[in-house]
Symmetry: C3
């Protein structure tokens, strides 16, 4: 489980995810490519911009572009009837992308000697940034804000890697699988963080009274 | 048809386009300036950020700022009754901006030796990025995603320039006029790319069955 | 009234502002942190990106992060019943953030020898950019576009500082207090700039006739 594999898994998973959203919005083929590429490469671009790292590197990932292109094309022409059975597959792919890019983003931040808070932010931005841009461009509320636990798993990945607890390919693979499992379980069991109203209740002020 | 002329035409066209949207949303005068400037200069700014090129250059285009300022002011105070007859003029101006900035963006990317995929992306981003920010800031779905063929013409400009097929002022002028004509024709004849549902039908799965 | 104080006041005020919006949208705790930090640090980040200034500096503001973190946590768990009495306090805090960051943004732009138009833009972006990102991420129309006079006060701060009329801690403090007072007065007395329809009326074309 090295960088190249994480990059490839993330590009495929988020390319498909962007295309599925484009299909739901009935975008045309070029719209699907734009949304798919934005979802696949948006997180890393935002991370590099905000960390002050070079963004030129994004344009020389020739093989990743081809992989994303093929994934998007496949997902766009994949029969609708089969897609509708694949909602859980979509959640799974999105979790794969989140896990792959969160780890990759944290590794990248560590490699440029960024401070811990930047490592955690890089993990969150790289893991969820592409999906956030995807949701903004389609006028949806970013998943990071309302759904089951999402960004927290990316933040944990950043924290563990930033603190140096995770190193070596085997431990990274364990983290990768654990992140996917935790994200899928969050959706399946509807895990949530404290919300505003529950926060109020917990300290004794029920706003609905 | 050199860089300076393309810059001026694009700034005027997109400044007016942003102001027309601001008028429709009943924004105040400062809102019209912000939206007009964002539309006129947003595409080039996003392109420079994503290509890793310098963005300081944006702030020293003194004459372009003045031109955009005058265009916005004029469009804001232009009588509503006359504007409503000018819907087709608005499409025309937007097409002028798209063509001017797509060519200019591609030229810019070539001038900094960016790879072909970055040249095409620069053409699309510079041509349509300002309008995309305009639509996001006003809560509209970006035109690039739902309307008649839009970004494809910018992508073609990027491809032709990136492959070196277009050079010299005369050929560039022909491309510029062709892009405007193709975009206007797209709206007039309602040309579209394959959409999701038609893609399904073509391969034999009609989701509406 | 030096840079450090302006930074702290702005981070507290915008952190609280982001959390209040997150509460209204019933976001979870992590959503409140993301929105609070985005509002508190988004304006400065956008300014640095657009001015071509270094963004690495954002990640080493350790004390500001802690201050924002505490402010957001406090605002999130602050009882709802009390919050609803504090609408005017929210406007006040937002005005404090706008004033603090507009002055700080203009000072920053002057310190890197940016031209006047960039100083004014830096004041507007730093003062209102965080709130703009906050509104985009929650699907709201940016306050800068529809409300009582907002960005104009930031623009004035940029103009005065860019022209060198404001220098020395005492004069800056006067400007700071004046900006807050003007923004609060704008809301209280519903001051607005000319809108599209009034612009039409003024020159004799009433579109509602």
């Amino acid at each position: 489980m090295n960088w190249a594999v994480l990059d490839i898994l993330g590009a495929i998973a988020f390319g498909i995810s962007g295309t599925l959203v484009a299909s739901e919005e009935n975008y045309d083929l070029l719209g699907a490519y734009i949304l798919g590429f934005t979802t696949a490469f948006g997180g890393g671009t935002i991370r590099n911009l905000l960390l002050g790292a070079s963004v030129e590197g994004i344009w020389i990932q020739r093989n990743l572009f081809i992989i994303a292109f093929v994934s998007i094309t496949f997902a766009f022409f994949f029969p609708h009837k089969w897609k509708s059975h694949f909602t859980h597959t979509a959640v799974f792919f999105d979790a794969v992308g989140l896990a792959a890019f969160a780890i990759q983003g944290a590794n990248y931040a560590v490699s440029i000697d960024a401070p811990l808070v930047a490592v955690v932010t890089a993990a969150v931005l790289t893991g969820s940034g592409g999906g956030m841009v995807r949701d903004l461009l389609t006028g949806r509320k970013p998943m990071i804000f309302y759904s089951e636990i999402y960004a927290l798993w990316a933040a944990f990945a950043g924290l563990f890697i930033g603190l140096g607890w995770i190193s070596g390919p085997y431990v990274v693979t364990v983290l990768f699988v654990a992140l996917i499992a935790l994200r899928v379980a969050s959706v399946y069991y509807k895990w949530t963080l404290p919300h505003y109203f529950s926060a109020q209740k917990r300290i004794g002020f029920d706003p609905e009274e």
